[in-house]
Each structure stands twice: as structure tokens, then as C-alpha cells.
């Protein structure tokens, strides 16, 4: 019995589908039950949250959590499927501190809101950047510029006139 099946057995309502991500067991979880499922997984020995990936599938948004158990050397993939226009899911920062930045990054680039995150701000792009670049409908045409505001923080604008030397 692999880890996904175990999780399904423990939480039959939360896990909607089990399958494989290439060679890793994968469990698709209802988005309301993600926190429970993750806590259960942590109980099962999955102590490392390797990565959080957000993928924009144009009709839906998927968030994929890759977990690993140092003890049993098992992999487990959790997946939640979110609404495309308003993707929102519980934050896992209470379980893994490492989720903090990974979630911020996913929010920054894919635009997924993690409810309950202590400091959900942009991390790689400056605050005020327009759009989430890894969304398929991101506008690549409009150039955005950054200038230094007060206290060394960034100010985003589409007008680069005080930065560029010539037009």
C-alpha cells in the first residue's frame, strides 16, 4: 500500500482521487480539507515539504505539494484543484515553516492566495507589480519599471522616463 492509499484510507472524504505523478504516489485532495490532509501526512511521517508548485491550466489552477519522509524514504504528492479566477487555499505555514516562502513565491508568480499565511506579500517581484507572470494570460507586452521609493523600497510604474536615458 503506497502513501496515497494510506492517506485515502485515513481520510476517505478528503481525498477525491489517487494516482501517480510519474513514479510518486499522488492524492488529489479537496481544497477545504488540505490542512487536515497535510497534518495527517505529517503524522504519517512526511516531515519534509519539498516544494509547492502552482500550475495555471487556464480552466483551473492546481497546487501541487511534494512531500518526503526522511524516515521511511517515501514520497507523497498532494494536489488541490482551485478555481481559476479566484484561487484560494489554506496555508500550510502552521505545519511547515518552510512553506512560508514557497507559498509567497506561488502567490507572487501564479497568483494563488493562501489564507492564513502570516505575511502573504510578493517575494520575487516588487510589491505593486501588475499581474502574476506565470499565469497564461499574463500581459507580456506592457513593460513595467521599478524606481526606488522612500526607505529603499520599490515603486512600480509603467513609466520609465526617470530611469531610462533616452526613449
Amino acid at each position: 500500500m503506497n502513501a496515497a492509499e494510506e492517506l485515502k484510507k485515513a481520510l476517505p472524504d478528503a481525498v477525491t482521487k489517487i494516482g501517480m505523478q510519474c513514479n510518486k504516489p499522488e492524492a488529489t485532495v479537496k481544497k477545504e480539507d488540505l490542512l487536515d490532509a497535510a497534518a495527517k501526512a505529517q503524522e504519517l511521517g512526511f516531515d519534509q515539504l519539498s516544494v509547492i508548485t502552482g500550475v495555471d491550466y487556464e480552466d483551473r489552477v492546481e497546487v501541487i505539494y511534494n512531500l518526503f519522509s526522511y524516515e521511511n524514504k517515501h514520497n507523497l504528492v498532494l494536489k488541490v484543484i482551485l478555481d481559476h479566477d479566484n484561487p484560494e487555499v489554506d496555508s500550510l505555514t502552521t505545519l511547515w515553516k518552510g512553506a512560508d516562502w514557497l507559498e509567497r513565491e506561488t502567490y507572487d508568480l501564479v497568483g494563488i492566495k493562501f489564507t492564513g499565511h502570516p505575511n502573504l506579500t510578493r517575494i520575487l517581484l516588487p510589491e505593486g507589480w501588475n499581474g502574476h507572470p506565470l499565469r497564461k494570460d499574463y500581459d507580456m507586452e506592457t513593460e513595467q519599471f521599478v524606481t526606488i521609493g522612500e526607505d529603499g523600497d520599490d515603486v512600480v510604474s509603467t513609466d520609465g522616463s526617470n530611469l531610462l536615458r533616452r526613449k
Binding site: Q21, C22, V51, T53, I64, N66, G98, D100
Partner: protein, 382 residues
């Protein structure tokens, strides 16, 4: 005595932030009360570019993530594709891959230790280190013509077989390196001031380290003996005799020592690889490859399609890069371009723990602890 808090902006241009990281420090005199990290000054949009290029075109971008050790990046990406498409890799190619990756690990640790010492004020170590690094780079150059950004490992194998005279030169390097690591140890290990600066600085417990998602030498410095080369042996690591190095203290000195130990282990691995390397071709001819041209020896690289379409699906692959666990998540929709490339970079995840580690310490400690995290900004910001 109550004094006003001092806000200090360290970076993005600062000599010891290893690039363009920025610390926002709230200070009470010299003591750090709060350390906030501001990233993204080198955010180049690699993941978006990954969606815009074909599979083979993405490969050069992986070189530029962790630009000190590019081979593992290459390899991890290629491994993801190979797992996705089910490409068989010839054994000799795997040996060469491991060879270059371990060589790169040594280079990475040299640079890491060197820049740590430079941040502490002793510039000699980095000069010595770069002297040896230059020799390793010459080996890389023999192999693929590039010094830092190799684009050498490709789906199905490696670009070229080892050139003539490579192995003798490598042996020479290994012999010299053995002597040099001893030199480094003599210069640094027992230096009283170095010990004063490193011992008990930036301590993180094993439990916290795992919870923060630390990996690589940074994790093993906390006494967690986890190494993906051992846990999930990939390539030919299950055939090799080596041990995962770890230290129980969890402080900066432990992390530094793990790196020194790993250099010895890498030398050990390299010796084995050189001794047991089989003769065979270095690029796959199965499924996506095309049979070699007539008259060309089978060991010479053959044509591998520039544009190919792996089946639809998702894959997440990870390896033990010198800095920690490097992962590539690729979602394919069956077209010539990846639908989504996600990079799990070790530097990014390791850096998560820093602000907790340095609370209550001083600026020089921040620099010492940060130096032992061994990050590269290209890897953090992608």
C-alpha cells in the same frame, strides 16, 4: 539601557551578500532584533522563459540558475525529461555525469568556503581556492568548451565523450586537490579566531532544520544525515562507496566542516568513477535518438533530436546538488514546449531559516551564518 532602534539596509549592493540580496535589519546597537530578507533583485523569469522555449532550449537556462555548480542543474532538468519521456541512458554517460557533478561539487565547496573566509576578512583562502578552481574549470573546458555555463548534459546522455587526455589530467587534479584540501584545513580549521567566529553561531536544531525545509550541507550540519544520493540513489550512486557527511552541532562551524568532509568524499567518489568507467557510447539511441551515422565510432555523440515531444504528464525530480536538494517539476501537455517548469532551488529554501537563526546576534555573526548557508542569488531568485 534603552536606545533607539537603528534600521539598516544591507544590500542589494553590499560586499558580503554574495550578489544582490538585501537585508532589512532592525538593530539595537550592534545586536540584530529583526532580520528581514528582501529577494528578487535577480529575478529573471526563468520559469516563464521555460514555458516559452522548447525542451532543449530550456537547458542553457538551467546553467544560469546556480552558476557556480551548473552541472547538477543540467542533470536534474535532463533527468526530469528522461523520467517523463522514459529515455534510457547509456551507462558510460551516467558515469561521465557523476564525474562532472562531483567535480562541480568540489568547485562549489571551494567557492563557498572561500567566500565565507573572505567575508570574515581573510582573503587568502579564496585566492588559493580559485587557483584550484581554475584547474577544474580547465577540465570542464576540455570537456565542453565552457567554463561555467556548460550545457553539456543533455537528454539521453552527454554531448561529447571524454576527450583524449582527460583522465590523466583529472588524476593529476585529484592528486593535487588532496594536497590542497590539506592546505585549506591547515590554514583554516585550527585558526583560533576562525573558531571564535564560527562556533555556536547561527545554531539550528535538527527538527527545525527539517521543518524549514533545509537541505544539503546546511541540513547535515545539524546532525541530520540525509543525503539524496543515499536516500533515493539516482544515476550510478548506488554502485559507489561513499558516506553522507554530517555533524551534530548545527552551528556555522559544523556546516563549514561538512563541506570540507564532502570535498574528501567527492575525491573518493571521483577515484572510483575513474577506475570503473565502462567503455560505451555516451548518448542514447533508443526511442528519441537516431542511429549513429556510418563510419563514426559508436562512442562519439550522435544526433539527438533538437525538438521532441515527451508524452503529456507531470514529473518532479530531485537530486542532491552541492547546495542541497535541487528539484525540477515539469508539466508536459504533449507539445514541444514544457507547459510548466518549476524549479525547487536549494538556496531559496535554505535561506528561509536565516532570519530565525540570526536573531539576537550581531552583524558579523549574520555574515558568518549567511556565509555558511552557501547560497547563490541566481538560484534564489531564478
Amino acid at each position: 539601557m534603552q536606545t533607539d532602534e537603528l534600521l539598516i539596509n544591507m544590500g542589494p549592493v553590499h560586499p558580503s551578500t554574495h550578489g544582490v540580496l538585501r537585508f532589512k535589519l532592525r538593530m539595537d546597537g550592534e545586536i540584530i532584533k529583526d532580520c528581514q530578507l528582501v529577494l528578487g533583485y535577480l529575478h529573471r523569469g526563468t520559469e516563464k522563459l521555460g514555458e516559452m522555449k522548447t525542451y532543449q532550449q530550456v537547458l542553457p537556462y538551467t546553467d544560469r540558475l546556480d552558476y557556480i555548480s551548473a552541472f547538477p542543474n543540467n542533470y536534474c532538468y535532463v533527468k526530469a525529461i528522461e523520467e517523463l519521456a522514459g529515455i534510457e541512458v547509456p551507462l558510460r554517460a551516467e558515469y561521465i555525469r557523476v564525474l562532472v557533478m562531483e567535480l562541480n561539487r568540489i568547485v562549489n565547496h571551494i567557492v563557498s568556503i572561500g567566500s565565507l573566509l573572505m567575508d570574515l576578512g581573510a582573503a587568502t583562502m579564496i585566492m588559493w581556492g580559485f587557483r584550484e578552481r581554475e584547474k577544474a574549470l580547465q577540465l570542464f573546458e576540455m570537456l565542453c568548451g565552457a567554463r561555467m555555463t556548460f550545457n553539456y548534459i543533455k537528454p539521453g546522455g552527454v554531448r561529447e565523450d571524454l576527450p583524449e587526455g582527460f583522465i590523466p589530467k583529472l588524476n593529476e587534479f585529484l592528486e593535487e586537490m588532496e594536497m590542497r584540501i590539506k592546505d585549506y584545513e591547515q590554514l583554516i580549521n585550527s585558526n583560533e579566531i576562525f573558531l571564535m567566529r564560527m562556533n555556536g553561531i547561527g545554531v539550528i536544531s535538527a527538527k527545525d532544520a527539517i521543518n524549514h525545509g533545509l537541505t544539503g550541507p546546511t541540513l547535515r550540519g545539524s546532525g541530520v544525515n540525509h543525503d539524496l544520493r543515499k536516500l533515493e540513489p539516482y544515476s550510478i550512486y548506488h554502485d559507489l562507496d561513499f558516506k553522507a557527511c554530517s555533524r551534530p552541532e548545527g552551528d556555522s562551524y559544523a556546516r563549514y566542516m561538512v563541506r570540507i568532509d564532502e570535498m574528501w568524499e567527492s575525491l573518493h567518489i571521483l577515484r572510483q568513477v575513474v577506475d570503473t568507467m565502462p567503455e560505451a557510447k555516451v548518448i542514447s539511441t533508443s526511442k528519441y535518438g537516431v542511429a549513429p551515422m556510418t563510419g563514426v565510432p559508436s562512442t562519439v555523440s550522435t544526433y539527438f533530436p533538437r525538438i521532441f515531444t515527451p508524452p503529456a504528464g507531470e514529473v518532479y525530480t530531485r537530486i542532491e546538488a552541492p547546495k542541497g536538494e535541487l528539484g525540477f517539476y515539469i508539466a508536459s501537455d504533449g507539445s514541444t514546449k514544457p507547459y510548466r517548469v518549476k524549479i525547487r532551488s536549494p538556496s531559496f529554501c535554505n535561506l528561509t531559516a536565516l532570519s530565525g537563526m540570526v536573531k539576537g546576534l550581531k552583524i558579523p555573526d549574520l555574515i558568518a551564518a549567511f556565509g555558511t548557508m552557501d547560497i547563490v542569488l541566481g538560484d534564489v531568485d531564478r
